[in-house]
């Protein structure tokens, strides 16, 4: 399978490492032989129609900061759009940095990939939160596949669990912790008895929070994931502006201590139940949603199978890369069926 990789940060590089490490198994167990024909990062692109040497690309990225510095395959002039339109490939993997303002440039990349007859795998929440219904329609219209399981819960198969394991049932509502950074801060406040600021500092030190943590602590990241869940799992046609969002900036140690006396804890909960909402909520300590650290947890309330909670790590490069790999294998299967039908 020929792949164009847009974005060569933590997730992109993790995916490359995964391909290298599991090459033999992927081929023998799944008949999957990924061939990355182009990589684009901020500095430019590297292209080789016969497949780039990923080891070499990782090395160049580490040494020079961009794959465009490769003296044989690098190119700092060619535009990513030209690449997507003209290079032969089956799949575009879009893992460039998230932008929730307008989703660009990822949104346009994904659209042009669909038009060029290429399937897309992404973990980029920006375009999904802003335009998921439109993107799904475009993919169907162009007869290509669109997968984004890494966008919610990273490696934890939250989207697949709902879509496949609850196949045939009807999901009435969804509630869960969709952001690991805020969950770490809230856990730290409750267990370490520290203020919000102190907990945030610690999260930054450990690399759980960005230097500008607003995406996480203001609930935007969780809201994006909620939009994706609502679209994909419950068939709602909603975008980010349909979510009412409240972050955890206003939570004090005092608030947490107050609910602790009632045997509860405060969690940043995203829920779809008629309306879409992200806000701090009081959760009983014995609830399955009461998970600590950077964990994510989502509970599905289905009409017949009842209540299920799936818990797992919700962030990380290799975790997200593993979700992208799942999506690629899924597309490989679909393409094989199409070629032989």
């Amino acid at each position: 399978m020929r792949i164009i990789l847009i974005g060569f940060g933590v997730v992109g590089q993790s995916l490359a490492k995964l391909f290298i490490k599991r090459e033999t198994e992927l081929s023998s167990l799944y008949g999957f032989r990924p061939k990355v024909v182009a990589i684009a990062d901020k500095g430019g692109i590297a292209v080789n129609q016969r497949g780039l040497d990923l080891q070499r690309m990782l090395l160049i990225k580490a040494e020079k900061g961009t794959v465009a510095a490769d003296n044989e395959y690098g190119n700092s002039k060619m535009s990513v759009f030209d690449l997507i339109e003209s290079l032969e490939a089956e799949v575009l993997v879009e893992v460039s940095p998230t932008n929730v303002k307008d989703g660009e440039p990822a949104l346009s990349y994904i659209k042009s990939a669909f038009k060029a007859g290429k399937s897309v795998v992404t973990s980029n929440k920006g375009p999904l939160a802003l335009a998921l219904p439109a993107l799904i329609e475009l993919a169907e219209h162009n007869n290509v596949y669109f997968r984004f399981s890494g966008s919610v819960g990273a490696g934890t198969p939250i989207l697949e669990f709902a879509k496949r394991c609850l196949h045939g049932d009807r999901i009435i509502s969804v509630r869960g912790i969709l952001n690991g950074t805020t969950n770490y801060i809230l856990t730290e406040m409750a267990e370490g008895r520290v203020s919000f600021e102190e907990a945030l500092q610690k999260a930054k030190q450990l690399g759980y929070a960005e230097s500008d943590p607003s995406m996480d602590i203001d609930g935007i990241d969780a809201a994006c994931k909620l939009v994706i869940l609502a679209n994909w799992v419950m068939g709602k046609r909603v975008t980010l502006k349909d979510v009412s969002i409240k972050g955890i900036r206003g939570i004090s140690l005092k608030d947490i201590e107050a609910v602790a006396r009632e045997g509860c804890t405060i969690k940043l909960i995203g829920s779809v139940n008629g309306r879409l909402e992200v806000k701090p909520e009081k959760i009983p300590r014995n609830s399955p949603l009461s998970v600590g650290g950077t964990l994510n947890a989502v509970t599905f309330y289905s009409e017949f199978a009842g209540e299920q909670t799936i818990i797992g790590r919700g962030a990380g490069g290799i975790e997200t890369a593993s979700a992208i790999l799942r999506d690629l294998l899924d597309i490989k299967q679909e393409l094989a069926t199409k070629l032989l039908s």
């Binding site: 020929r2 008949g31 999957f32 032989r33 129609q49 016969r50 490989k332 393409l335 094989a336 070629l339």
Partner: protein
């Protein structure tokens, strides 16, 4: 005798060449022959038109404008060199200018709409021949011949609407061509007909695809019951091998149609396979002649040849190919494996040139065009790997195909042994072998760097450099 003469792109590349053609036709007419001339576009013009069509679709206004000027200059210059009489020249200049005006209109249309359909592309491509035919007509008039020029459609060729590679409705075509050209021939005229282009029953312009002008010649030949068809090119007929590889290569004096087909498929500069179809069952003779050496060696193609058993006619080398190897123990005794392979390649529009599978069934080897290798390996991997049937699919692009052609190989034991012994003596390893049961052709694959030596070895073994061996 009635002869259809076809002049290819290089034969009409310059005014001087066109003058030469006029002299050849004139001397044939004076010998009492009836001549129908079929003419290709000037060398390089069809490629230019393809580019123009594509540029117009991309709205490249500047290119279209420059091209119009370039085409006008080139054709006027060639006409000026080919035609001496000023009033005839004037007439041709006007025709060229009017034709180019029409081309510019259609290109402008494409430019505005930004859409190039196969139908409009065929129309644009037809201009190459519509510009060259009037020049030859002028030159013939200039040397005193009674002549006229027609498009393929005006001559009566009707096709289906498979634009880009249209198929003649042969019986309608035969009837119409006879109706339209026979009276002209009776009047002693030399009709100049555009090669390559035709039209549907509704008069929409179509083209006949690669080798289209040869096809036009054989269609007209078959319709008019011509005794001979002369294909004028820039080489001395078909050779025993490529003289660049084997300096002792000789012109083949005679080949059967089927032998010529085998050679064409495997890369020899012969006629396009489709072009021989209309005359396949007739006694029409095809001569392949060199416009620059009209009295030199030529190749005659005939329906049947008496082949001397144990001889071969030619060795060809086909480059720019790739070998695809599909292997896996799971393929053994699994019906339908080959079908899946072909289906996947077919869906990706990849043509297979050569196929070989040993009776062990553990692998299938294919030869395809080299530029499609990545695409083919990728599609096969996507579709077939992981099902337990196939373990590995590999592509190698440093290979070439050598074909040994000749009807004399039929029913003669030992030919293959001689071929492979000769190759082995040079220390060359053979990667893949195929021979159809027609026995007209043995093809095998070697490393690309070994190709020339392998061709030389076979050429030498069968003494093809010595004409007496035929």
């Amino acid at each position: 005798m009635r002869i259809v003469m076809k002049f290819g792109g290089t034969s009409v590349a310059t005014g001087e060449n066109i003058r030469r053609i006029a002299d050849i036709i004139s001397s044939s007419v004076s010998k009492g022959h009836q001549i129908i001339a079929v003419v290709s576009a000037l060398d390089g013009i069809t490629e230019k038109l393809i580019e123009a069509a594509e540029r117009a679709e991309k709205r490249d206004k500047g290119f279209i404008h420059n091209l119009g000027q370039e085409l006008l200059n080139r054709h006027l210059r060639v006409a000026g060199e080919a035609i001496f009489n000023s009033s005839i020249l004037k007439e041709i200049q006007l025709t060229i200018a009017a034709t180019l005006e029409e081309l510019e209109k259609i290109l402008t249309g494409i430019l505005y709409v930004g859409e190039l359909t196969p139908r409009s592309k065929d129309y644009i491509l037809s201009f190459g021949e519509r510009l060259s035919a009037p020049i030859l007509y002028g030159a013939l008039k200039d040397v005193g011949l009674n002549t006229c020029f027609l498009t393929g459609a005006e001559a009566g060729i009707v096709t289906d609407d498979n634009f880009g590679e249209a198929n003649p409705l042969m019986n309608v075509t035969k009837l119409q061509v006879k109706e339209r050209l026979e009276p002209l021939l009776q009047k002693g005229m030399v009709p100049v007909v555009t090669g390559f282009i035709a039209a549907t029953q509704d008069g929409i312009t179509t083209t006949l695809g690669r080798g289209g002008s040869d096809y036009t010649a054989t269609i007209l030949g078959a319709a008019l019951g011509a005794e001979e068809i002369w294909i004028w090119t820039d080489v001395d007929g078909l050779m025993t091998s490529d003289p660049k590889i084997v300096p002792s290569a000789k012109t083949l004096p005679e080949l059967s149609f089927r032998e010529a087909l085998e050679m064409a498929v495997f890369g020899a500069k012969a006629m396009h396979p489709r072009a021989l179809e209309p005359i396949m069952d007739s006694n029409t003779i095809v001569r392949i002649k060199n416009i620059f050496n009209p009295n030199g060696p030529e190749t005659v193609l005939v329906k049947e040849t008496k082949a001397k058993p144990g001889t071969v006619k030619a060795v060809t080398l086909l480059k720019d190919v790739a070998l695809i190897n599909i292997s896996g123990a799971g393929m053994v005794g699994a019906p339908g494996t080959a079908a899946k392979v072909f289906e996947v390649l077919g869906k990706n529009k990849i043509n297979i040139l050569m196929i070989s599978q040993g009776a062990s069934e553990a692998n299938i080897s294919l030869i395809i065009r080299r530029n499609l290798m990545e695409k083919a390996v990728n599609a096969l991997e996507l579709a077939l790997l992981g099902g337990g049937l196939i373990r590995e699919i590999t592509g190698e692009d440093d290979v070439c195909v050598i074909s040994v052609v000749g009807a004399g190989m039929r029913n003669t034991p030992g030919i293959a042994s001689r071929v492979f012994t000769a190759v082995a003596r040079r220390g060359i390893n053979v990667r893949m072998i195929a021979q159809g049961s027609s026995e007209l052709n043995i093809s095998f694959v070697v490393k690309e760097s070994d190709g020339p030596a392998a061709v030389q070895a076979v050429h030498e073994e069968f003494k093809l450099g010595e004409v007496s061996s035929f």
